[in-house]
Symmetry: C2
Amino acid sequence: ATPLAALAPHARRFGLHPLQTFTHDRGPEQLDGAWGAVTAEAPAAARIAVELAEALGLRPFRIDDGMRALYHAGAVMASNYLVTLRRAAGSLLDAAGAPPEALDPLLRRTIDNGFALTGPIDRGDWETVERHLEVVASVEPELATAYRALALLTAAQASRTVPDELSGALA
Amino acid sequence: ATPLAALAPHARRFGLHPLQTFTHDRGPEQLDGAWGAVTAEAPAAARIAVELAEALGLRPFRIDDGMRALYHAGAVMASNYLVTLRRAAGSLLDAAGAPPEALDPLLRRTIDNGFALTGPIDRGDWETVERHLEVVASVEPELATAYRALALLTAAQASRTVPDELSGALA
């Protein structure tokens, strides 16, 4: 996150970061419908940035220059770690003899449903959570740390108290 | 994952698990296009399960009865932990003053692009990865463990060697 000050002495300096992932296989239409983070100091600069964003098909929002690293950390968590999740979950399905691509309609519907939580942690079904942890640690031990950390975070977000006998396995 | 044996003494017993997340706000069309895991022993039972799956609009695949826990652990990782990621990343954007829903076109495109990895870990930009870890740990410390675990797993999946000076921060 290079600060706006790097553009000194320009007075109407601004930053415009498209919140999207891009591939060389597609063209500029990849910007359509994505959001764009505008950082600017002078009001005149912000107006130009917002106009540019809209001309590019982006939905602009403003953030403070000092918040760009936090904003970008969130963008990485969503986009890059979704790739990580899909690869990890796909390798579990593959090890179970199931086609990894069977996960994709599930992932799309999870977005369509507004990220409503379902599944064993939502139900407080800790026996199932524990069996999942065991089988993951046994078959794909390199996934165990991330699997556990995400189980704990999911429980915390859902305000679910992890039972004592499982806390040790999750820590 | 209740075993098929629970259905004894039925000879043509089978299981059919739709790989989908459901909401009460929608109807049976939620099955359309999802995949369905078939477990069966007798060939006649498997035929019935596959026919039932297709009648329901599911794309059937077979897995062994003993693999259902592993398969389900993978399904949970994809679907439930995507919810976790979105909530966590959304709270980082919120803390940065950005709208969390700006992540959604990014998540959809990540799926459309076949889960191609982009971003700082893919580029080997460890300075940025380290700054993200610092800002997440500082602003939302409850996210730090999962963020670190996913960074390490992402690097391993991409066959990227994490530099020594960052290994400590990531462990």
